[in-house]
């Protein structure tokens, strides 16, 4: 430090009173006990963003010294006691003289700064932030106010289960992975078949014969290393459904048969997990969100499965390859909305899409008070799942 700097320091020290870390800690503790009406001390961290991100005193405001004059307006009351701190106690002294010039009456600098605070073993918090790579990868999300860094962290913390890595699960899983959903579970016991590749874009020609869950994991991990993929190479049944769905926040239902849909519906009701439901047939698709006890459930919509003749999913019904892409991505969209808590989820509404007509339609769905699963006297734990409906092989 040169003579000129030392002189500025000496002057600042004469002007700005200093408190020890212990005194700051005690004053904040007293204020905390006094309750919200007695908030006379404001703690301001004047360090740079990267220093703040590595840890700061709980309850402090962050106003980097470079923006002090512009951002200190966060403390509009100039009669409050403003306690400033930096890393070592020098920048906070300088900042103190600035605040005095701006008319703040009680400005204090914490001696020794955050270094001394930590050295005394006093409490601090480490805010969660995106890494530099994540900030780049998700920059188009960060630009959307409804998502932002907070929303992106929600997505990274989210756990989404895909029932099936097939026609609907492929596009849904692919885009959810791109969006940065941190944990994606995939339950699928099938292997990749050549006939899947017309629509199941998580898989490819080289992976024919591999387990779909494993193939999906390879594709997703190559797209986004932030995503942890958990594979469940088994069929969803009475013995495993409760255990598997317990670990997830949202379930994306892309199954191909009625027994699994009823089974999942009842288990999701018991575990109180939302199910984003999609189905496709030839040129048409359906989509809705079953949110337990807030809207209808699958059994309110379809109390019983259709007979075999009307259940074409069991036979080779056929589907336009791009159609599950559309419905699966609408499922992914609803999932992101549920995770972020934004917009109007498709609860109590059935969206239908007719690709040939190029038409979307919407039907209102109602909770059935007499529903055997979610109604007033419902018992989701002991209902039939109609396993016999799909008794004939696909």
């Amino acid at each position: 430090m040169g003579e000129a700097s030392r002189e500025i320091m000496r002057q600042a020290r004469r002007q700005v009173p200093e408190w020890s870390t212990v005194k700051v800690h005690e004053s904040l503790a007293h204020q905390h006990e006094a309750g919200p009406e007695h908030q006379d001390i404001v703690l301001v961290d004047v360090r740079e963003k990267h220093e703040w991100s590595e840890g700061h005193i709980p309850g402090a405001l962050h106003v980097p010294r470079g923006y002090l004059e512009l951002q200190i307006e966060a403390v509009p009351d100039k009669t409050k006691t403003v306690v400033l701190y930096c890393a070592g106690g020098i920048r906070s002294l300088m900042a103190g003289t600035t605040l005095q010039q701006m008319g703040y009456k009680e400005v204090i600098s914490m001696a020794g700064g955050f270094g001394a605070w930590k050295g005394k073993g006093l409490p601090f918090v480490q805010p969660r932030t995106l890494s530099e790579a994540q900030a780049k990868r998700y920059s188009r999300h960060l630009l959307v106010p409804e998502v932002g860094e907070e929303g992106q962290l929600k997505l990274l913390d989210a756990r989404v289960l895909l029932i099936g890595a097939g026609g609907l699960g492929s596009p849904a899983g692919y885009y959810l992975a791109a969006a940065g959903v941190g944990t994606i579970g995939i339950i699928d016991a099938d292997v990749v078949d050549e006939s899947n590749l017309q629509r199941q874009i998580l898989h490819n020609t080289k992976r024919i014969g591999q387990y779909k869950a494993e193939s999906a994991r390879e594709t997703i991990e190559a797209l986004n290393p932030d995503v942890k993929v958990i594979t469940h190479i088994e069929r969803l049944d009475e013995t495993n459904v409760a255990r598997i769905i317990a670990d997830y926040d949202v379930i994306v239902d892309g199954t191909d048969n009625f027994p699994t849909r009823y089974l999942l519906n009842d288990a999701a009701l018991m575990a109180n997990k939302p199910v984003v439901h999609g189905s496709v047939f030839r040129f048409e698709g359906q989509l809705t969100v079953f949110k337990p006890y807030e809207g209808p459930c699958y059994r309110c919509l379809y109390p019983e499965p259709p007979p075999i003749a009307l259940a074409p999913s069991c036979a080779e019904a056929g589907v336009l390859g791009v159609l599950p892409g559309i419905i699966g991505l609408l499922q992914a969209t609803e999932t992101v909305k549920l995770v972020l808590g934004i917009g109007d989820p498709l609860v109590g509404r059935l969206m239908t899409y007719d690709a040939l007509a190029g038409e979307f339609n919407e039907l209102r769905l109602f909770r059935d008070p007499k529903c055997p699963a979610c109604g007033e006297n419902g018992h989701p734990e002991d209902l039939p799942t109609y396993a016999d409906v799909c008794a004939i092989p696909a």
Partner: protein, 90 residues
Amino acid sequence: MATVRLAPVLRPSVGGAKQVNAQGSNLSEVLADLYSRYPSLKEQIQPEESLSRFINVYVNDQDVRFLQGLETGVGPNDTVILLPAMAGGR
């Protein structure tokens, strides 16, 4: 005449049409008119007296189970939708 829209799986029963017209002042009469012309449709959606539980019927986008069921009134400009459950996902 009311318009009746059919889910894809039901269309073979009416000769492949996506929608057909039918006469009647309530749902029961509208369906009876359809069955007289397309008998196989009755087997598919109403083999017994009451409406099947695996098929949803909407009059102007409202589920008739929460209206008056087969007695729900149907006007000449109304649209009836017949929608059985779909399961396909793969």
